[in-house]
């Protein structure tokens, strides 16, 4: 990663508005509080939190780039590597496993032909294992962006993948 700012990334006008509104939420001098929300905004736009994007946010918040990198690498929601079009975040924690989560996961991996952390050759799907998504009564569960897919079965997984492959 470079600390030189050589930004090719910028927020779209509406996201820039949103970013300004977020920064203004915090007390004077506490604009660093906007870091997590801005990283989400960056990821929403770019698909991942690229080094260039993180440098851009550092500039915007008037903090050192390392302060952004150390945060982006601590929290698991930020993709610090490029990802496919749809990132499937599959819950691997106990309660989902009790509901057959491991079998459904095996089916999903087979269906996509990839393992956790990998992206399909066509760039459509990235598979990521995550911990508890706070939907244990509706397990097994996975999430794609903001959407929760619950009570998963092999058949339901096939339907979802078919739908997203169109």
């Amino acid at each position: 990663m470079t600390t030189e700012s050589n930004n090719t990334i910028q927020f779209t006008p509406d996201r820039l508005e949103k970013a300004k509104e977020i920064i203004a939420r915090y007390p004077e001098g506490k604009q660093k509080s906007a870091l997590l929300p801005l990283l989400h905004l960056l990821q929403e736009q770019e698909g991942w939190t690229s080094p260039e994007g993180m440098d851009y946010i550092a500039q915007m918040l008037d903090i050192q780039p390392i302060e952004v990198y150390e945060v982006a690498t601590f929290y698991t929601m930020y993709h610090i590597n490029p990802v496919g079009k749809h990132v499937i975040e599959y819950c691997r924690t106990g309660p989902c496993c009790l509901m057959g989560g491991e079998d459904v996961y095996a089916h999903l991996k087979q269906r996509l032909g990839i393992d956790a952390g990998q992206t399909t050759v066509d760039g459509r799907f990235t598979l990521k294992e995550v911990e508890c998504l706070a939907a244990c009564g509706m397990g097994p569960v996975f999430q794609i962006r903001e959407k929760y897919y619950m009570n998963l079965t092999n058949e339901r997984v096939d339907e979802i993948i078919d739908e997203l492959s169109k």
Binding site: I63, C132, C136
Partner: protein
């Protein structure tokens, strides 16, 4: 009919909107508190209610409020902990998405009581759709004069900010949450100073769970004594229980504290019993951190009396024969469950979620995961069981925050109550590693 404090109106169509919520009596508690009560009087009612922190720690909320330092000229903050991430727990998720105004109303009352003019709701980032729901509710409340400047003409100002997390269980720990809210890694802080003295931006801060804050409307409307009359002993009021696992009706249930565990599992009103053709083997009663109990001990105390869903009854017998109410994440396991596999799964969770700041937790959680992995996969050694007990003991109590304890308890308790099953994995690796293989030895199923 059992008293419902949080979920009475939850199934009313449109309850997520201001107008419907208002029509069901919503925001009357804000009017009552701001117009007829002093902040001290609100704190007093919450104290009288005896309501205890619903995030898991169970610390009396009124007492926590009374610790808040009030130096002149320094802002005070209320931060709502909506970072619900404890495996088995999904009540706050349900409450916020279904009846968001209940939390907003509670935030207004609580902020007023504490003298905060800017308050935060820190929601785990995965729940971005819930964040949008809360933001919409805030906009509505603001448009109706319940938020912003000079609320209801009382001169009280309040702004609410919804903050997303980034995916880190540790941020459910209150000082890690504050670090995260300041835009940093979620490393828990050394205490003292406690947040009540130096919290967010080094200012006095109270951090409360969603469910705790949501109770304040009812407490203001009906009085603390009425709240304390519900429940049993020092377990006052109601509790949301997230029920998951091998039961007929998983979901979120509001119970009056004191319901027998047996009724909660088997009555149609709640879990509706174990799924057909199966028997109860074990329960993790308060989220993945709390000790697992075998069927006979979750249903009954060591002296044979019925165990109840309350802070005291669940912890009766200490860790030898008891557990904890914790967050109310009630995970039910039938006889098809491999305790070793589940324990390895939980150990992996804590290893993954350890922030890495304290060596006993950073190293110990990884070590436990590794040893459990090899036992589960047929490569365990005889001394591994004692090794696990030893590592767990060395993590417990030796870390800045309770994540270390939370990692140690599931492992120690699984060995305490299911040692035979661990030994079977070690002595019969070929059998134990067959797909779906589960120990069928001497065990009391119910």
């Amino acid at each position: 009919m059992a008293t419902k404090i949080l979920t009475e109106h939850i199934n009313v169509p449109g309850i997520e909107t201001f107008d419907v919520y208002r029509k069901q009596g919503g925001y009357t508690a804000v009017e009552k508190a701001l117009k007829t009560m002093t902040p001290e009087e609100v704190v007093e009612e919450v104290k009288k209610s005896g309501v205890r922190g619903r995030g898991g720690a169970g610390f009396p909320m009124g007492m926590k409020w009374s610790f808040l330092a009030k130096p002149e000229g320094v802002p005070r903050y209320l931060v709502c902990n909506a970072d619900e991430s404890e495996p088995g727990t999904f009540k706050d998720h349900y409450l916020m998405k279904t009846i968001p105004h209940l939390l907003i109303e509670g935030m207004i009352i609580s902020s007023y009581a504490l003298g905060a003019n800017k308050s935060f709701i820190y929601v785990r980032g995965e729940l971005m759709y819930v964040i949008h729901i809360l933001e919409k509710a805030i906009e509505e409340a603001k448009a109706k004069g319940f938020l912003g400047k000079n609320i209801l003409g009382t001169g009280y100002d309040l702004e609410l900010v919804v903050q997303p997390g980034g995916g880190a269980y540790i941020c459910g720990e209150e000082t890690a949450l504050l670090e995260s809210l300041e835009g940093k890694r979620g490393n828990p802080r050394n205490k003292p100073p406690f947040p009540a003295v130096k919290g967010l931006y080094q200012s006095p801060t109270v951090v409360n769970n969603v469910e705790s804050i949501a109770t304040t409307s009812w407490i203001v409307n009906h009085g603390g004594e009425a709240y304390a009359a519900i429940g049993i002993g020092r377990s006052t009021g109601t509790k949301l229980i997230s029920a998951s696992g091998h039961i007929n009706k998983p979901g979120v249930y509001e119970i009056e504290l004191g319901v027998p565990v047996e009724d909660f599992i088997y009555a149609d009103e709640w879990c509706g019993g174990i799924r057909p053709g199966h028997k109860l083997k074990a329960v993790v009663a308060g989220g993945s951190s709390v000790p697992i109990l075998p069927a006979n001990l979750i249903l009954n105390l060591a002296n044979g009396e019925k165990r109840l869903m309350s802070y005291e009854s669940l912890s009766d017998g200490g860790f030898q024969t008891g557990t904890m109410l914790g967050s109310g994440g009630f995970i039910v396991m039938d006889e098809t469950t491999c305790i070793v596999r589940n324990t390895w799964n939980f150990a992996r969770f804590y290893h993954h979620e350890s922030c890495g700041q304290c060596s006993p937790c950073r190293e110990g959680t990884g070590w436990m995961e590794k040893v459990l992995h090899r036992i589960e996969h047929g490569h365990g050694h005889r001394q591994d069981i004692d090794l696990l007990v030893d590592v767990a003991k060395k993590i417990e109590g030796n870390t800045i925050c309770p994540l270390g304890d939370a990692a140690a308890w599931p492992v120690a308790s699984a060995i305490r109550h299911f040692r035979d099953e661990f030994e079977w994995h070690i002595t019969n690796p070929q059998e134990a590693t067959q797909p779906g293989a589960v120990y069928r030895g001497e065990m009391a199923l119910v």
